[in-house]
Amino acid sequence: METLKEILSPDFLLRNSVYTSVLVGFACPLVGVFLVLRRLVFMGVALPQISSTGVAVALSLPVWLGLTVNSAEEHAHTLAFVGSTVFTLVAILILAWLERRGRGSAEGRLGTAYVVATALSILLLSKNRVAEAGWLDLLKGEIITISNFDLGLTAISLAFVLVVLGLFNKELLLVSFDRAMAATLGKNVLAWDAVLYLLIGLTVSVAVLSVGPLIAFGFLLIPPLTAHLFARNMKWFVILASLIGGVSSFFGFWLAYQWDWPVGPTDVVLLGAVYALAFGVKKIFSLRQPKLKSRLAK
């Protein structure tokens, strides 16, 4: 409990890390819901990896240009943010376009994108020690040092995603659920697809920069899957997924701080445990339901 009080204190040294972690935890499931519903989970694996390749390119740039920018400096972070966002958005638009053409294997494309992106990141950074250290931290999900600037950038980006998702939820849901109906109602299906993909891309790039690709994927996938077990309608599905992500990220941070574990992996393992627990509870309830119904009938 002492650790919890310490974390919640406004003077806590790592408060920016807590805030960032919780923000990412709340925001990622909001777009993850659409990845799960559109059965684009593989995209959720590939995109964070491509995003981290963008970070690798950005961290390598100063070295290629002969500049001496330390990876811990603000410039490096901004550069990484730009690299991450550009790579993610370009990749998601290309993948979406290929998906729309409907030719070849979508899983094959995403798998190739994932493995090539990972290999490319390693290649790019193998000759760049400073950048390599930064990238490895990112890969492991070390979210210990977050500046006010980084926190602000994360908060603004994710607030933008939240507002756009909230405002255009009905259009995004309609084009996801029934494209033909959307077209007959005069909706520009391609444009709304692009909006959704841009939101996913932005969220992924911000999340990767804050918590790394593995953890970003965990937050995109596991909270929506857990929420789906209990959601009775779309509104509760989204709210529950976001709450599971946000609350798990906070308690994940608490556990990691208490036991001196890396924050990101702790978050993902916790999310996995919550999913397993929820699955068990759901099973027990569904097994007991017929008995309850027969008792009520008597």
Partner: protein, 237 residues
Amino acid sequence: MNASLITLDNLAIGYDGQAVLSGISLTIARGSFTAILGANGTGKSTLLKTLLGLQPPVSGKIQIGADGVKPIFGYVPQAIQFDPLYPLTGFDVALMGTFGRVGTGRFPSRAEKEFVRECLRVTAADKFAATKFSQLSGGQKQRVLIARALATKPDILVLDEPTAGVDVVATLALLEFISQIHKERNLTVLLVTHDLPLVKKHAQQIVWLHNGVVLCGTVAELFTPEKMSEIFEMEVG
């Protein structure tokens, strides 16, 4: 004679510039009940997609509406095509019918929601409005989808194989209901099906797709032994 709502002039339909069906010329009058009939793979769905504007025609002309006013399509797709992963209730699905009128970035008003409830009542789907769409039976899903189509305030109700995956009793009830709202509201109905007996009972005009040939006419014109034998290339009766 009612004014024409849709006119097809020497239309060729298909994919990637390759025609699967050509020489389609017909008129669908306002207030009529037209059935597009044909076996699987004859181009029924392609014709429907072209009419709905989901796919461009290979060649020919389509005129939809009159005086530059486009009619509103109340589209009822096959219920089995929907992904059961979406946690949407029957009401949520029916509410989508209002999304064409409700402005971008706006939310359906209380009046729109009440109108959707009314549409669900009309289609006798109000009892399962709060149930998950994925948990409904085939017939119940179709009723919700028809309610959704009515919620668009359509000029033309377009039904794509509405009886696919629906049991016989529900199929009969569904077609009776469609026929009833067609008569009560003078609603134009375009029904795609391969169910011959249903078409005979309810449709006024038939568009029969068979072996790359399009035959148009009334039930009385097409369902004669001569025409049937011509269509099936064998003697009937």
